[in-house]
């Protein structure tokens, strides 16, 4: 056996070992962020904290959401879909005015999921409430059931869809908490835009992770839920409401 041949075998063994071990190193690297192949886990509960005292009179979150998810209108406000909207509040007695973004509240006990006849409306283990576009029959019972009016029915043909965000005429849709971004370890588009262009009012994170900012703030500061009386345990929490 010539040294060349021996050397060649050595390199070959090294390459083979590297090829065998690399995925393992890659797995370690990915251990922090869930890989797309891995199922959502109940160890996490994704949520938002929105401090409306910082919510500026802008709609950066709305624009970013609809851009990210390819939600375009047809100039028909009554039937165009809105995944997130700015809501203005004025106290009936004092006149105190506020503004806040409102979207799917990603409830732990979502009424939309309860009423859906086919199970198309569902809640992932990590708390994100979604619509399966393949099994939604377009009955709109979930729109009737949603306490925060967060769902839209797609009233006409859609164009310009994003590969990560399937949409379809005749089905119901709503905020997905940018599930495609969350699964890549990123934050939802609205949160990113608010922190870049808005009032830095939104925090995204894992409600069950003691090291997360959202966890610490919810533990230390007062917050409220929309329709808290319904005891739905929403994933979206508000401050200053």
């Amino acid at each position: 056996m010539s040294p060349d041949r021996r050397q060649f075998l050595g390199w070959g063994a090294a390459v083979a070992a590297g090829a065998a071990l690399a995925p393992a190193f890659r797995l370690i690297e990915l251990a922090q962020a869930r890989s797309p192949e891995e199922a959502a886990s109940a160890l996490q509960r994704w949520g938002l904290l929105i401090d409306i005292t910082k919510c500026a009179d802008c709609d950066a979150c709305v624009t970013a959401c609809h851009e990210e998810n390819g939600v375009t209108g047809h100039g028909r406000p009554r039937t165009d879909a809105q995944w997130i909207r700015k809501v203005s509040l004025r106290d009936k007695r004092t006149g105190y005015a506020q503004t806040l973004p409102l979207m799917c509240q990603h409830c732990e006990h979502p009424p939309c999921v309860d009423v859906c006849p086919t199970g198309a409306s569902f809640r992932r283990d990590d708390g994100i409430v979604l619509v399966d576009k393949h099994t939604c029959i377009g009955c709109r019972y979930c729109v009737m059931a949603c306490p925060s009016g967060a769902r839209s029915f797609v009233h006409e043909a859609v164009s310009g869809q994003k590969p990560d965000v399937p949409r379809g005429q005749g089905t119901v849709e709503a905020c997905t908490l940018c599930v495609h971004r969350v699964d890549r370890g990123e934050t939802p588009a609205c949160v990113e835009a608010c922190n870049r262009d808005g009032g830095k009012a939104m925090v995204f994170g894992d409600l069950s992770d003691p090291s997360a900012e959202i966890y610490r703030r919810l533990r230390a500061e007062p917050s409220t839920q929309v329709r808290a009386d319904l005891a739905l345990n929403t994933g979206v929490r508000y401050q200053g409401l």
Binding site: V87, K92, T118, G149, F153
Partner: protein
């Protein structure tokens, strides 16, 4: 029972074919409307993201509620043993099936994805009252068909009572399910009440009997069969009781809400300042749908007149449609309560009364469903002996004696 003779209608007159032709045209128009809505998307209707259930749902729910109620006549005969009603049981069972078919056709054709009906048949979420209803509707068809078989087949007559009891219980559960579609909506103030389930049951008694009376009068007239005062007056009095019972439930429902501070705004909306809805409530539901029929049915001056009975039944049907319009459309038009004590505005029509006007395709689809129910009935009474040969007082009395 043995002395009641049933016979198919001749069904070869010009009037019969004109009726079938007219109903067929309405069915075709309904199918065309459904195609137009599905092809373009629902933006061509009056529905929106705030009023997601429109005119098709008003008519579909009316037909489904009436379908279970119309079976009452059969139940009175077979479950409660009232012989006078026995000659009417076959027609009662037939209408129960055809009205349900008409209502479900409308409901399915209004879906965003009607071609996915197979998905609804194969994927079930058993916490959904809608999913239960799919079973309840299919079961209703099967059980009423079984019941009709026991009526038609002499050897099966011994099982009529058992099948009748099963159908009666099933229809009570079915209408409970229909009412609970609204009763289980926790996030909307106008619904969210257990009272809706029994209210829908009593509504079904009333709407179903009104349709039954009209169909029976038309069928007897059209086929030249006698319809005596004994049968008609019994049905008339029963209809009056049902109309009064519906009114009672409506009063209790609103009185309860008026007592609860949180519900005051809803009541103001429906009863006083909600635009078209208080007008529909007082004029349509209360005056035309309840008071006028009660006067027509019980006033000594007119109540013996057949025209008055027919007019009362028409009023009950119109009032019933209005009642469901106020409940279904008005209930969605009223803004959802999300932020108590706040005025709410947004580009998504939060905090304001949602606008809705029924569009032509919606109405045509709904009317097509009604036409389907009547056409199926008209064909069935020609093919099978659903109608008794005579309901003349002498025949009825001898049959039940």
């Amino acid at each position: 029972m043995a002395s009641v003779h049933y016979r198919e209608i001749e069904g070869d007159s010009g009037g019969y074919y004109a009726l079938l032709g007219a109903l067929g045209a309405l069915i075709l128009a309904g199918l065309g409307a459904a195609w137009y809505m599905e092809h373009n998307g629902h933006y061509v209707t009056g529905m929106s993201n705030r009023i997601v259930w429109g005119m098709p749902h008003v008519i579909a729910v009316f037909l489904i509620v009436a379908a279970s109620g119309v079976l009452n006549v059969a139940s009175i005969a077979s479950v409660f043993g009232r012989d006078l009603y026995k000659p009417l049981a076959r027609l009662s069972g037939l209408l129960a099936v055809t009205l349900l078919a008409g209502g479900l056709a409308v409901l399915v054709l209004d879906l965003g994805r009607p071609e996915r009906l197979i998905v609804a048949m194969t994927h079930y979420n058993f916490k959904s009252i809608f999913a239960w209803n799919i079973f309840l509707y299919i079961g209703f068809f099967a059980i009423v068909a079984l019941y009709l078989w026991t009526l038609f087949e002499r050897r099966m007559n011994g099982y009529t009572r058992r099948a009748g009891v099963l159908a009666f219980l099933w229809r009570l559960v079915l209408t409970t399910g229909t009412g609970s579609i609204f009763g289980f909506l926790v996030g909307r103030e106008p619904y969210n009440s257990a009272l809706l389930a029994p209210m829908f049951i009593i509504m079904s008694f009333s709407f179903g009997l009104a349709i039954f009376v009209l169909v029976l009068m038309a069928a007897c007239r059209g086929s030249g069969r006698a319809l005596g005062d004994v049968v008609l007056n019994r049905l008339k009095n029963l209809l009056g009781v049902f109309v009064a019972a519906v009114l009672y439930f409506v009063v209790v429902y609103h009185l309860t809400n008026l007592y609860i501070a949180r519900q005051h705004e809803v009541e103001r909306f429906v009863l006083w300042d909600g635009g078209i809805y208080p007008v529909l409530f007082w004029l349509g539901q209360v005056l035309i749908g309840s008071i006028l029929p009660l006067v027509l049915l019980f006033s000594p001056a007119v109540s013996r007149s057949r025209r008055a009975i027919a007019a009362a039944a028409v009023c009950v049907i119109l009032g019933g449609l209005v009642q469901l319009y106020v409940l279904i459309i008005g209930g969605q038009a009223y803004p959802q309560l999300m932020f108590p004590e706040k005025e709410v505005t947004s580009s998504f029509f939060d905090g304001v009364v949602a606008a809705y006007a029924p569009s032509l395709p919606e109405v045509v689809l709904g009317v097509g469903g009604m036409a389907l129910a009547l056409a199926l009935t008209a064909v069935a009474v020609k093919v099978l002996p659903f109608l008794p040969q005579s309901l003349a007082d002498s025949d009825v009395n001898s049959a039940t004696a």
